[in-house]
């Protein structure tokens, strides 16, 4: 079974390791991420101003093109997932906005595409037991804290991804790989998102609260699903260290990197170089590499 795949701008460049590990793991799990031909930018955040039709065009263009290629579209980055899924739902429900968009883009998209996040594919279509079968190196003894962030979960009625206060999908994925999923209260709190551009010190504070809480609850590694969150809680650890002297940095991995380790991929291809804190000492210590 092949899936139309929308990588998104950052996964092409600064988060290449995230994209590459996903493609490799998919092959191991028996399905292929078929990149959507000539895709364009997803428009980043879903426009909250009701009269901002123009901002809906980028995601609509992607949906229309994907619909020509197939019936389901998947993405890895939670920001792309959020804006494409919400636009898809808006086009399905809001008749006159659908007509305006279709007239402008001369397309006839009715919103009937199935938009899935990669984790949803692993759970619903592939199934966690399949991962356990194919797994080469179970991550027993690894205390991993899943960090959901905001874009996957909210708005709750539109994303229909998981429970809005106590999500468990990510925990199931980690436990399927034998790791011990660490629950921590900040797993659904915001990382500061694009504030790292406008007010970097606020993003630092958010990053610190999230990592601090994960460490306090016994996490050895934090697992994320979005390059922007990862930047705010991983790369910002330098700024956090300056402000909070007693802070001990902790490795932050994409969930596909962890999947890659479990599937026994050669760790050179998992792109640990791009992670701010090098996870190798921890992974070697646990005997996963």
């Amino acid at each position: 079974m092949d899936y139309l795949y929308f990588p998104g701008c950052t996964l092409y460049t600064k988060a290449k390791n995230f994209d590459q590990t996903a493609r490799d793991c998919s092959l191991l799990l028996g399905f292929q991420l078929k990149e959507l031909p000539n895709w364009t930018c997803c428009g980043a955040t879903f426009p909250l101003a009701t009269d901002n039709i123009m901002a809906l065009l980028p995601p609509s263009r992607i949906l229309a093109r994907a619909r020509e290629e197939g019936t389901t579209l998947t993405t890895l980055c939670s920001v792309c997932f959020n804006v494409i899924k919400r636009t898809n739902r808006l086009i399905r429900n809001d008749g006159d906005k659908r007509d305006t968009i279709n007239n402008f883009m001369e397309t006839n998209y009715q919103g009937d595409l199935r938009v899935l996040h990669y984790l949803e594919i692993l759970k619903q279509d592939v199934g966690f037991p399949r991962i356990q079968e194919k797994m080469k190196k179970p991550l027993t003894g690894l205390k991993a804290a899943p960090y959901y962030g905001c874009m996957l979960l909210r708005p709750f009625e539109e994303m229909e991804f998981d429970d809005k206060e106590k999500p468990t999908l990510f925990e199931g994925f980690l436990e399927a790989m034998g790791a011990e999923a660490i629950d921590f209260p900040y797993k659904i709190e915001c990382c500061g998102s694009f504030q790292s551009v406008g007010s970097p010190e606020v993003a630092t504070e958010c990053g610190y609260k999230i990592l601090g809480s994960a460490v306090k609850n016994g996490a050895e590694v934090v697992v994320s699903t979005c390059p922007l969150c990862t930047f705010n809680i991983d790369h910002k650890q330098a700024d956090i260290k300056q402000k909070y002297l007693d802070f001990k940095p902790i490795p932050v991995l994409y969930f596909t990197q962890l999947l890659g380790i479990a599937m026994g991929l050669d760790y050179q291809t998992l792109g640990f170089g791009q992670n701010f804190v090098d996870p190798l000492p921890l992974l070697k210590g646990k005997g996963f590499i």
């Binding site: 600064k14 909250l48 101003a49 009701t50 901002n52 915001c190 504030q195 790292s196 406008g198 606020v202």
Partner: protein, 137 residues
């Protein structure tokens, strides 16, 4: 510290514009403060979201637009998901940004030219795209 309330003040143009852009009815807000209580960046805000909504309702345009509240809002929708009256607070914050960014004299909240050296290379593009959408006119 003092406001003079009149009919025009209450149904003022500013509040109507914010209601139009956000599509929300500000009169529905019964000032329970759940949004401010749950906001992850409220610690850095001069006034909480519930209070800037109150300013808007009372027609205090200058004061409402002078605070940093909606510039710090990261649209994480924690407030919207918990509002007992079903008001989409994130949309109201966006609307307040739009009121400034769409003003005739259109001044940006951030200036790309002032970024330090190497900043553009460090930060992932998503941050810039969503950031610029929220901060640039």
């Amino acid at each position: 510290m003092k406001i003079e309330l009149t009919r025009e003040k209450v149904h003022n143009e500013f509040a109507k514009k914010v209601e139009l852009i956000s599509g929300q009815n500000l009169f529905a807000c019964y000032q329970c403060g759940n949004c401010t209580a749950g906001c992850p960046v409220a610690f850095a805000m001069e006034v909480g979201p519930h209070e800037v909504i109150r300013y808007t309702l009372l027609g205090l345009e200058e004061e409402a637009l002078a605070v940093n509240t909606f510039w710090l809002c990261a649209s994480c929708l924690q407030c919207t998901s918990r509002c007992p009256k079903g008001i989409d607070i994130a949309r109201v914050m966006d609307a307040l940004r739009m009121v400034i960014l769409r003003k005739k004299d259109r001044k940006d909240h951030i200036h790309v030219s002032e970024f330090q050296e190497g900043f553009l290379e460090k930060v992932p593009q998503i941050a810039f795209i969503s950031g610029f959408r929220k901060f640039l006119s």
